[in-house]
Amino acid sequence: MGDCKKTYLLWFFLGFFFPAGALTAQEVTIKASAPKVVSLNQQFRLVYEINTRGGKFIPPELKDFEVLMGPSTSYSESTQIINGRISRHVSYTYTYLLQPTKTGDFTIPPARLQLKGKVYESGPVKITVVQGNNTQQATGSTGKSTAGSASSNLYVRMIVDKNEVYLGEPVVVTVKIFSRVSLTGFEEVDMPEFNGFLKQEIPTPNLTSLQREYIDGVAYNTGVIQRYLLFPQTTGELKVDPVKIVCLVRKRVHASPGGFFDDFFDTYQTVRQPIFSNRLKIRVKPLPSGAPEGFRGAVGTFGLDASVDKTTLRVNDAVTLKVRISGNGNLKLVEAPSIDFPPDFETYDPKVVTHIKNTVHGATGYKQFEYLMIPRHAGKYRIPPVTFSYFDPVQKSYKTLRTPAFTLQVRKGEEESGTQVVVSGDKEQVKYLGKDIRYIYTRPMRLKKEGYTLFGTLFFRLFFLVIFFLFVLVVLISRHRRRMLGDQRRVRNRKANKVARKRLKKAGSYLKTNDKAGFYEEVLRAMWGYLSDKMLLPLSDLTRESAAAALESQGISKDLIERLLRVIDQCEFARYAPEGESGAMDKLYKEAVEVISELEEKL
């Protein structure tokens, strides 16, 4: 670029001194130059040379070739003054570095230059691409035509160990230089961006001396510049741009042709020569389906190992679970396996110890995860097996590794009983580990017709009706019975006086015959019978007191009750008395008749 600027500046000065008109008289030409025959793996230059400045260069379409570099522009200019006549030669060159992609005859269409409304064309370029004598995949190196071009004497290659890999399967890329010239060093090594890959450098000793190697019988000095492990991160065809190395090459320069000292004193000049490597195309296949649960993209061959540092411990003691994943593969991307710790454990994020060595056989080493756990309660706990799944690209199958489960016996801490008293209020809720619906009802069930409800059915209505009618029946029967009972009483009431008088008459006849016992007996029966009929009380229930209470409630005066009771008392007394006078009997008879008559009036 710096060169370009310089030339422009120069051009400016020259343009200042020399009128432009003198120059434009010259005819504008574009000349294309390229080798006519190239081999498939050979890089070559396509150069367009334009003998004027300015204008817009329209490059040709280069669809059959891969453009490794370019177009790079350079400018040169020479001025001659011969006999006062100034002739100037200007040349602009556009240079492409191309590489064929397939064999055959190809025509590169003309390039154009637009200048002051005119379009100038170069001629088309015909190039025949022939099969090279060697392919790069076969030996990892490239056959070169032995034509004296600089690139076949000095080239750099990116060599891969495989072109088709699974996602995550490493590719070893070796950047190697092949030289038949005297190489003094590198000025600049531009490694490409390995897009789509995770790049890991394989430690490579500094290139101090080159090894001699024969390729197709031609001796080359070779050296490995750098090795990489590439772990593809996406699927598809991944492309890697060429490596660019600017080599310092010592070249012999003949000081002056035919000079005297030529044969003895060659002068050497160090030339900067940029070289480009091939491009890489790597097909990355996706991993096959059927990945096991817990697969997180580990590819390679691995081993799994787990251990706990103690199996019996006290509450609040720390215990460490170490899980080590060792082997060969994309270890760097291996994630910590998730472990279902007992819910009562306090756990922390694992401490990760990584020890990985990148070699040409891939990344080997181990990754160790240390889980620190602190049980907060005593008991027997089980740490479930740790599982680790990976894809084995050699066997093309998924593998799952599993450690044994660990059982931890956690005893109560010594001081815990003391603190327990203090924190006794700090009870823990039952921890629910999962939620699910309750189980189905499995016992035999009673099925009903859909839409059936007891309410409103005939049975339901009939039940109420029947109960109601039964009740009505009860009421009716009860009323009937009561009426019947009422009639009976009325009859008894009506007959009470008659009956009493009948009995008193009988007592009167006993009085005449002077039958003492018969007389009192009959008076008593008359009195009690009358009371029973009138009060509607059964004879068995009648006592002096109940009779008095009943009479009183019927509004009979105390005086009359007193007289009635006296009659009864005298009768009772006289019945069992040994003797008595007939005058007393007479008096009692009169009194009884009087009392009954008075009661009859009032009741």
Binding site: I437, L454, S478
Partner: protein, 263 residues
């Protein structure tokens, strides 16, 4: 591992098939009795073959039988088969038949957590809430039976009041008779209300993944809101192919009738 599992599963299925054939009533008739269908469905459910369990439970339910437990089991099978709207529909149907059943309520609550829409129900007047709570203690038939029993006792006690001679017995008969009669009337009311709820079908479940509720019955109505499967709505009215619904938060709108299924 995979192959092993497959073989084991096939083995299990064969065993189940064998057991199913051995169940009584299967070998001879094509139409199975509902009880044997349920037994088979339970067996399917127990072995994780939920789609088959759904099919058999549905066969029983669709042939006109109903039971809270049957709907509950069917809801469970739907839930396990990841058909949440149907699960909710049958849980709701089961709950209508037996509102007090705790398992039904629990599973319904759990199934509802899978519903996209969160609708804040309008607060009910506390008396209504109490009344509904009380109503939910027993299924409709339970209230009906209670009403019948208390009516019987009311008649008994009142008869005692009428027949008895002794004043104390009569008094006791009258008081208890009147109380039981009042209870009977109350239970009768509950039974009537429960039966009304059961047969009115005024609630429905959204069965389509997403439904746009319109302001009027017809496609040209303004879009009001979108509800998702499993949500319970109240049916207010219907017109042609459209149904007017109300959400529990009170918002109303029309949606195509085929988007919902009445409980």
């Amino acid at each position: 591992m995979e192959g092993m599992n497959k073989i084991r599963k096939a083995h299990l299925q064969m065993m189940i098939a064998f057991l199913l054939v051995m169940l009584p009533g299967n070998a001879t008739t094509v139409r199975f009795s509902p009880d044997s269908l349920i037994t088979r469905a339970n067996l399917y459910y127990a072995n994780g073959m939920y789609e088959d369990a759904v099919r058999l439970y549905r066969e029983v339910a669709d042939s006109g039988y109903a039971s809270a437990k049957l709907y509950y089991n069917l809801g469970n099978a739907y839930f396990k088969a990841h058909d949440i709207p149907h699960a909710i529909l049958y849980y709701e149907r089961a709950r209508l038949l037996d509102p007090g059943d705790e398992d039904i309520r629990y599973n319904l609550e759990l199934a509802r957590t899978y519903v996209t829409d969160k609708v804040e129900p309008l607060p009910r007047f506390f008396l209504v809430a109490w009344y509904r709570w009380f109503l939910d203690r027993l299924p409709a038939d339970g209230w009906a039976i209670l009403s019948m029993v208390t009516f019987f006792f009311a008649a008994l006690f009142l008869s005692l009041y009428i027949i008895a001679r002794k004043e104390r017995l009569r008094k006791a008969g009258f008081v208890t008779g009147m109380v039981t009669l009042a209870l009977s009337a109350l239970f009768f009311l509950f039974a009537w209300q429960s039966q009304k709820i059961l047969t009115s079908h005024e609630e429905a479940i959204v069965m389509q993944p997403a439904v746009t509720v319109k302001s009027s019955p017809g496609d040209e109505g303004t879009d009001l809101f979108v509800i998702h499967e499993g949500l319970k709505v109240n049916v207010i009215d219907s017109l042609d192919q459209w149904t007017e619904i109300r959400l529990e938060d009170g918002s109303k709108g029309w949606l195509p009738s085929e988007a919902i299924t009445k409980i």
